[in-house]
Subunit: 220 residues, 2 copies
DNA sequence: TATATCGGTCATAAGATGATCACCTCTGAT
DNA sequence: ATCAGAGGTGATCATCTTATGACCGATATA
């Protein structure tokens, strides 16, 4: 997965930004149309999206809401449209920020750095007796160290990271297995089941890993 | 803990913002100096801080870095200082955003809402004792958590979102079921019925989910 | 080579949902 | 007051989701 996906049809600006971000150590992909963006995102994902609104094909807002449908990847909207309506629209669609063009590239980078730091620089995540060390992939459940296989660890980490939020099965699957996986969606049930056993959770009376019927699962 | 701590020495602006945020359902505390801010934060905490930079006593940046020392509470810096240096400084200190004065209050609120949603999974709509959390799909009715099946949740959410407004049955149906659904319009009666039971609403004497004869339903 | 673990598929069981039906009640125009 | 049509409601049941034990091949491990 690349760090940053730039969606921008101004080639010059796009490559400038790409260079600056690469210099900061991020991996960057750049596309110049909304369709390409969605395609690329679906296939490979990204940790953050810099999204221009005026695109040659689809409207940037449409791209934003498509991206938001099953991922909460941070989105920075960048646009020369300065109307209040546009801004409210973008923010309402779940964009993390709406930055007017022309922008100062240093400030954009500072914002990106901030988001990465807040969002991805976490080493430990924990909730309700479950602590996961993302660096050495170890888990402690109710004070007892537990060995978790890779897939189970990733799945649990994703759920704990988004604790309180109901996550769609498709999202879980795409994130942990990858959307190009040839496994079946059903596999997820089996893994949830195994996790629950290790968490000491009875599905009928689950305390931590709850089923959200018709949607997916959530950790509380 | 209050939701939002406003640190702003312009009394008028401060109380205006307070009013707007309260109207959105947040609890708000406001102080007019840096020392007070730190004091209050230390004592009671806050889920988000709106921080002015030009304060009568301490410099706002100092407050920001103090706050960051032992808490990762989101901070929105608001300032009339528009230098690039100031912005980079603020963002570098861990502020989530640096907003120039004068700002549009609607946009500030949109940003605050976004942060609450991303950070605390709080995206709530509520009316008259009914609160729906759209993120984790949970419902609280008169203080009691209630399990709602997907269809019922969507239907209720739609009604609460448009509280006070009578919605045509056809509209409700198309929105919740989809216009290409092959179910019968009548189904809606059954679901309304089930919702009323869970709301403790008697149709003859409905308090919340009213029938608008010949039209549809409305929530009050 | 023998063994254990992981990660996935399958079949089946168990459960929840929600559409429909049948019948009842209410509304309001005539 | 009557009546047609709108709305309400309990029961039923097909369908879709989820849970779970069994099994199996691949891969790592001893």
């Amino acid at each position: 997965m690349t760090d940053i996906l730039i969606v921008e049809d101004d080639r010059e600006l796009s490559s400038l930004l790409t260079d600056f971000l690469r210099a900061e150590g991020y991996t960057v992909s750049a596309v110049d149309s909304g369709d390409r963006a969605l395609q690329l995102f679906e296939r490979y994902g990204a940790k953050l999206v810099v999204l221009d609104i005026n695109l040659p094909d689809v409207n940037g807002f449409a791209v934003c809401s498509k991206l938001r449908e099953n991922a909460d990847t941070p989105i920075l909207i960048v646009s020369c449209r300065t109307d209040k309506e546009d801004k409210l629209n973008g923010l309402g669609l779940g964009a993390d920020d709406y930055i007017e063009k022309p922008y100062d590239i240093d400030i954009l980078i500072a914002k990106i750095k901030g988001i990465f730091k807040r969002r991805y620089q976490q080493e430990m995540i924990s909730a309700d007796g479950v602590t996961l060390n993302l660096v050495d992939k170890t888990a402690v459940i109710d004070g007892v160290p537990v060995e978790l296989p890779a897939k189970e660890f990733e799945l649990l980490a994703l759920l704990v990271e988004n604790k309180g939020k109901a996550l769609r099965k498709e999202y879980l699957f795409n994130t942990v297995w990858g959307s190009d996986s040839d496994s079946e969606l059903q596999t997820i049930h089996v893994h949830i089941n195994r996790l629950r056993q290790k968490l000491g959770d009875d599905p009928k009376q689950a305390k931590r890993l709850l089923t959200v019927w018709g949607v997916g699962y959530k950790f509380v």
